[in-house]
């Protein structure tokens, strides 16, 4: 009888421990619970972190391609604008190289820059406007919604 008492006591203790674990486990696994429990910004950030972890798993295992899927407008905007910012930096770098090289007419046709080199003069040939930058000719164009300058053949 003592034995039975001991066994049942252990069994009950084990089960009680299990119960204590279940809610904890659920809170960790299901992000929404923490939203309901706390409305503070921290909780929201917590959701974001957890959601992200979950997302990462999904991306890794199944639908990586879906991530970049084209039509989510804002996502596109973000990407486009980030590209724009990156392009701007690249253009600035290209610009410096250009200035350093000091080869006024040696810039290859098709080169795209976001800022014109110093000392350009506007010229119009057959109704088309160009910038004459020391013998290199640039035509203005839109690349996406960015204004850029493209090196072209001497139109004169």
């Amino acid at each position: 009888m003592k034995k039975l008492l001991q066994i049942s006591a252990i069994a009950i203790t084990l089960i009680l421990m299990l119960i204590a674990d279940i809610p904890m486990m659920l809170i960790d696994d299901l992000p929404i619970l923490s939203v309901e429990l706390a409305s503070e910004a921290e909780a929201v950030l917590g959701v974001r972190r957890r959601t992200r972890r979950r997302t990462a798993v999904v991306v890794g295992s199944t639908t990586a391609a879906a991530t970049a899927s084209a039509e989510a407008s804002q996502q596109q905007a973000a990407a486009a604008e980030q590209q724009a910012a990156a392009a701007q930096q690249e253009a600035a770098a290209a610009q410096q190289q250009l200035a350093a090289a000091q080869a006024p007419s040696g810039v290859s046709v098709g080169t795209v820059v976001q800022t014109l080199p110093a000392g350009c003069k506007p010229v119009t040939v057959s109704g088309v406007a160009y910038q004459d930058c020391g013998g290199s000719f640039y035509k203005t164009a839109f690349q996406g919604n960015n204004l850029v300058y493209v090196v072209v053949q001497n139109p004169l």
Binding site: M1, L26, A70, A72, Q75, Q82, A141, Q143, N145
Partner: protein, 252 residues
């Protein structure tokens, strides 16, 4: 006698405990689906309302988080005034760090005009918003922020690949009480604040790129919503001012 008591009590406790734990488990599961229908229901109400508007104008403030090569975190801002006339007219004036331009679309042509550089480019365009935006993105290479506002039904677009949705709570944007919703799809978290009441309009968007460590976001605050603006069809067609230079779009 004592022994008999234990023999009956122990299994009874076991049974109760097991039932309780199972109940706790299933209840929690039932209450927390990954996509909360309460969130999608509010989003649906918003997209239905937006789709029902014949004309509207709105002011948007877009903030793009960026990191300089030096490692410093900066914001790039674009302020825009958008006027939409369904089914296929739009005019958007954008000014900011990256742009200073006016976009015109009148159902047959689209034009991008840079007033500060005194240049513009124009292209023939499809007669629907959807195809025009696809052309803009795929062929001309530029994305249009919040173009989903313009679609007649953006609900499927916003819900595409969504694996998690929740109502975060109530909040105030520019003094207006809103439902704050969160939608997540692989790589992108999307938050939207929808005003309460009979005009469920979006007042704020936050789109977060979750594929990068810094979790960069684009934040859009929408204000001055006018759901019945006085609109003249002429304002969607670009008339080149004197001395403006026509340029081309580079193929993307």
């Amino acid at each position: 006698m004592n022994m008999l008591k234990f023999k009956t009590v122990v299994p009874l406790i076991l049974l109760v405990v097991l039932t309780m734990s199972v109940t706790i488990f299933t209840e929690t599961r039932a209450q927390t689906p990954a996509v909360d229908p309460a969130a999608t229901e509010i989003l649906k109400r918003m997209t239905n309302y937006l789709g029902s508007l014949k004309q509207f104008s709105v002011h948007t403030q877009n903030t793009l988080e960026d990191v300089l090569d030096s490692g410093h975190r900066i914001d790039l801002d674009v302020s825009a005034s958008v006027t939409v006339s369904r089914p296929n007219k739009i005019r958007a004036e954008r000014k900011g760090d990256l742009v200073d331009q006016v976009f015109y679309y009148n159902g047959t042509t689209l034009t991008l005009y840079n007033p500060s550089s005194n240049v513009y480019a124009t292209e023939p365009a499809s007669d629907t918003f959807e195809e025009m935006f696809i052309y803009l993105y795929d062929t001309l290479g530029f994305g249009t922020p919040i173009s989903d506002l313009v679609y007649s039904d953006s609900f499927p677009l916003l819900m595409k690949d969504v694996i998690f949705a929740a109502v975060i709570g109530k909040s105030f944007i520019n003094g207006v009480k809103c439902d704050h919703l969160l939608f997540s799809r692989p790589g992108v978290d999307f938050q939207v604040w929808v005003s309460e009441g009979s005009k469920p309009l979006p007042l704020k968007y936050v789109v977060t790129d979750t594929t990068i460590a810094g979790l960069m976001s684009v934040v859009t605050i929408m204000s001055d919503w006018n759901v019945a603006p006085a609109v003249d069809d002429d304002e969607f067609t670009f008339v080149p001012p004197k001395g403006v230079q026509k340029i081309n779009f580079m193929p993307f």
